[in-house]
Amino acid sequence: MEGGRTGSRFALGLDPGLRRDDAGKVDRNLNKILMLDVTKLTIEKANAALRKKEFSARELTDAHLEIIRTKNPTLFAYLEVFEDDARAMADAADKKIASGTTEAMTGIPLAIKDNILINGRISSGGSKILENHRATYDATVITRLRNQGAVFMGRTNMDEFGMGTSTENSAYGTTKNPHDTSRVPGGSSGGSAAAVAAHMALGALGSDTGGSCRLPAALCGVVGMKPTYGVVSRSGLMPMGSSLNQIGELAKTVTDVELLWNAVRSHDPLDALSQEYDARKFVPTPKQAKRIGVPRTFLEKGLSPEVRTNFEATLTSLRDRGYEIVDIDLPSVDYALSVYYIICPAEVSTDLARFDGMRYGLNVPGANLMEEYVHSRAQGFGKEARRRIMLGTYVLSHGYYDAYYNKARAIRQMITREFENTFAGDDAVAAIATPTSIGPAFKIGEKVDDPLSMYLEDIFTVTANIVGVPAISVPSGTVERDGKHLPLGIQFMAPHFGEALMFQIGKDLGK
């Protein structure tokens, strides 16, 4: 007698045979978990089901742990699964639900990127230099999720410290794209995106400095966003490009991403550049709310026919839903990638200076202090980290500072003004639309030896970080390669504090 449980049940698509324990007895609990189809679940649906007691938070977590058990060995989305802690968090969530204080994230299984600190757990930032480092406090976003009774399933794989567009720069191995395991999931939040895409979690947190949540979301066929700079606290996020960085949210639908974003955002005194979203929420005019701008000149270069066709198809869908699509001009956006790859390495060279083998992280013993510095850092950092530290140090050094760093900052201001002009005035648009990526997921190993080619993957995403505006990628269909259907995404950039505008567009598209 299972006690009044309702709700449809379908096989998970795993081995559906009845599980028996060692004594040959049918394991009723495991069978119930196997009957719970998490592939049909979203955060929103799970929340409703938990409130109606269709299943428990423990059953929901166990069902996800089962999928992780079967899929993670191949996909390697999770560096570490927090099996026991997840079950304990789920049990605590069930108590919260029983007491009638269920919140949006109560009992929801979430995947957390390895650069977001969870007290007491190893947080390695995808790097060898922090292989055994245990976080000594919770990131603010983690505290907020804990308070709601969310469940942390594990820490997800990432490019080292967030530097990369494919997750191939992880010191621990590459995550595979669930749609084609010979291809990358995108990066740097590849593990988080793959976890959601393969139903190993209902939502995930990542970090987005130049597109690191949006790009993998697009390549894995899920929704991924970057908040307005300052809206989500960076306290407890390992710094990498601090003027560009935000903790991004990934999930299966726009509504889910909005729920997750709502749960984690705050005005945080522990983040010196934290901003008040509620006080500054962007309100469009009615006309503006239905206008979407496309930077045609910028998109002219280098869009493959497939991506162009896919992009135009979504624009047609938007027109069908009452949106006006207008051409806009962003003259300086051509420089955006160069601006990013000067400012980001410059800031990275500072952000990574703290890893000196003295207080935490890898220490390679040496004859003197300098030897310990140079060997600990050289051995602890991977290739891309070293590249960016050197590049950053160069553009900040005497004689080059003005030509590179100051120039990049000046152009950054120019691009920001152009964006603000696009979002204001009689011709204002609610969002700027571009494809999220230049193409579908590329093959593992294809770009790993060509850093510039890897950087070019970011060409449509970096601008949102440079300007600080919020941006979201929603799935826009697939293209076929080697008989597999590979996802693409469309990106919407809204005004500062204009998250509601991009959520609305995504929902209108049915995502």
Partner: protein, 97 residues
């Protein structure tokens, strides 16, 4: 455009102990990247200290208040230390005699 001496000097500044092979690779990579980002040279614009967003909250600090209890984080922090001596981090001498 970067020379071997540039790379040597940079590596020292960055406190990175690199092999000759790694340095050669970086010379190639950085030259290629700088070749691309150097396009910024064409833009005729100067950086201004004035904030674009006058309402940007800068340097919000938490209020002075009760500190956390003494030693609340000490063990957790020192547990991550590569070398410790009691409550001290043990490091090589900064100034050598």
């Amino acid at each position: 455009m970067l020379t071997k001496q540039d790379i040597d000097k940079l590596a020292e500044l960055c406190r990175l102990g690199l092999t000759d092979e790694e340095k050669a690779g970086l010379e190639k990579d950085l030259s290629s990247i700088l070749g691309y980002v150097g396009e910024l040279e064409r833009a005729q614009v100067a950086f201004s200290d004035q904030l674009i967003d006058p309402n940007l909250t800068l340097n919000s600090m938490r209020a002075d208040g009760e500190p956390h209890p003494t030693r609340h984080f000490t063990e957790a922090i020192l547990a991550n230390a590569p070398r410790r001596q009691g409550d001290y981090l043990s490091v090589k001498a900064i100034i050598e005699k």
